[in-house]
Symmetry: none
Subunit: 369 residues, 2 copies
């Protein structure tokens, strides 16, 4: 554990990230560099003080926390530093992790959104998380109230893995309501923060936290978000990091859909089902998906889109025994050519099939021609 | 009225449109051209027969209809032929018009959608139509059940003008339920068809009708549409005609939003408020809009009195997609009979509506049951 102190020192330099390494290469050299050399590298007085005169009590507190079960430090350049996170320009040099650190190596999808979502928004977040976790994606979010929590819970309910990135030291759980949830997350997935112990959950920490959520993930799905939601920051960061941005539309009368609509206007992929996400992430995930497709129900479980009324009438007239066009004309009162063209459309749509003898019968959901 | 017969003859040539004129120039020459010359122009036997041997009884029926009050024929190349419609490659040579033919010269926005929309979808169509009509746009649609009718009614409620394009001769009103509505439309706006009297409302006429709805209009707004909705045909035609396509997003749990979401994925403008439409139509409409901005309320304004907390909780639980009583009981933790009686009160108060299938959805301000 002796070699951990320099990393803990780096963790406490305000705003320091991998983008500052530049000519330095190995971040640990920063801890031994003379102040004049640090100044010539562009470091200011506060950073130099933090590097050269770390607070021993603070480092001791970090070490004490790290001595707890299931806790560890993941450091820049180490084999278990997450590959996608290493790609972002302002990657953290140190990650405090509690739980199963190997979860960080899984392909991740971020699911984020409002702290005050509608019930339906929560259901949607949970359903997508369940479905995607079952397909092998880890679900990454921010442990916040609302959509974040629903996403974590959905992944847990599916027996999947989920990662919570926080905006404070991991010795604090914020919000307090999520102490139990944090415990469940750590049991199979991981809690992650770049912030050392004793760091409070200040408002200005959350945009920094958000860049890790998007940076760890192949893409970010925003479920519900008001126009001023922090989720839009996460989405912007994902986009700047070259990651996919997904957004779920909603009623124009739902203020929590406004943020998603803005994202869609700006180019985010409009998502109605989990398959829309798979379609974008594509080849990267193909292996995962085929492995689980059989057992994974579609998020919109029930079904095929509703039919227009005439088609419903025709299907009702068809019932569940084979019938010919003349019978259907007699039952519906529609013209023969109308019935014929409607049947063709229903056949193309996989809802009816033609049998030998020109009789039509219904097909069940999911049995396309 | 003597010179009208050649135009009525042209109106009865199956599928004939301005795109066929080519070298001919003046369409009336087609009526006097010898059959061999017509054949050399590419006309088939049916078209030649229709041009050379028109049915006198049919023409007499058209003339009799046109003799009625407020009825007229608008012909290709005449001063009152709508300018935007003349731009489309398959513009009709003849329009039968009932009502105020000058309405066709107004800048128009088409509002179309499902024949089986949600109550909320109807409210939305009506509110957009009201707002846009008040701003000086004529609202053009197809007189169908559902969204079309709501759009026409919204324009009428605003004291604006609205144009209904039909897929049958104007001696028939289809659907029959809209006889009164058609009368109201003709009183200040116009009923329009390229189809002569006696033409029934066959299914295959509607795509042809749809090209006129989009072709008359600066843009087409789709409010709610299933994936197989004819509204998507109108939107595709609008796009092919170089006009704007607008679509209103909805909950992913609302099947009637699927068509709109498909359009948005294909590049349609996502619309949340009437201002989104003005922003696209821009300069063309600036004059109109500033004249009415002061008196035009925002589409999303809601000035109804606040509700008791339990009712707010129930409405929040309902969200913005249809839900059944069981779902609401699960979401709120309230007893079934309590939820049922609260829903009844909210329904009487015009805040929710029951849909076929026992699902409830929210309604907007000012639309009492």
């Amino acid at each position: 554990m002796d070699d951990i102190k320099p990393w803990l020192t780096l963790a406490r330099v305000p705003g320091l990230h991998a983008g500052h390494l530049g000519r330095v290469g190995d971040p640990l050299t920063l801890v031994t560099e003379p102040p004049a050399a640090l100044a010539s590298l562009g470091f200011g007085a506060a950073a130099i003080a933090a590097l050269r005169r770390p607070d021993p009590a603070a480092l001791a507190r970090d070490e004490a926390w790290l001595a707890g079960a299931g806790r560890r430090l993941v450091t820049w350049g180490s084999a278990d530093y997450p590959l996608l996170l290493a790609e972002i320009p302002d990657a953290p040099l140190v990650l405090f992790v509690e739980g199963a650190a190997d979860a960080l190596a899984l392909p991740q999808l971020a699911i984020v959104g409002s702290r005050n979502p509608t019930s339906l928004g929560c259901d949607t977040a949970r359903q997508f998380a369940e479905h995607l976790a079952r397909a092998g994606l880890a679900i990454t979010s921010g442990l916040a109230l609302g959509i974040d929590a629903a996403a974590h819970r959905g992944a847990l309910a599916a027996g999947g893995r989920t990662i919570a990135v926080t905006g404070c030291g991991l010795d604090t759980v914020y919000p307090r309501e999520h102490v139990d949830l944090a415990g469940e997350i750590a049991a199979s997935g991981a809690l992650v923060s770049e912030m050392p112990t004793g760091t409070p959950p200040l408002r200005q920490h959350f945009p920094r936290r958000n860049r890790l959520i998007s940076g760890l993930s192949l893409g970010t799905l925003v479920v519900e978000a008001a126009l001023q939601s922090g989720s839009l920051i996460t989405a912007r960061l994902a986009s700047e990091q070259g990651r996919e941005v997904f957004a779920i539309p909603g009623s124009i009368h739902n203020p929590m859909a406004r943020g998603c609509h803005r994202l869609i206007r700006q180019g985010a992929k409009l998502v109605e089902t989990a398959d829309d996400i798979f379609a974008e992430l594509g080849a990267l995930l193909e292996g995962l998906r085929t492995a689980t497709r059989a057992e994974a129900p579609d998020v919109q479980a029930d079904s095929r889109p509703a039919l227009d009324k005439d088609y419903e009438i025709l299907l009702d007239a068809l019932g569940f025994a084979p019938a010919g066009i003349d019978t259907l004309v007699a039952r519906t009162g529609l013209a023969t050519d109308v019935v014929a063209s409607m049947l063709l459309i229903l056949e193309l749509d996989g809802r009816v099939a033609q049998q030998p003898g020109g009789l039509y019968c219904r097909r069940l959901a999911g049995k396309k021609a």
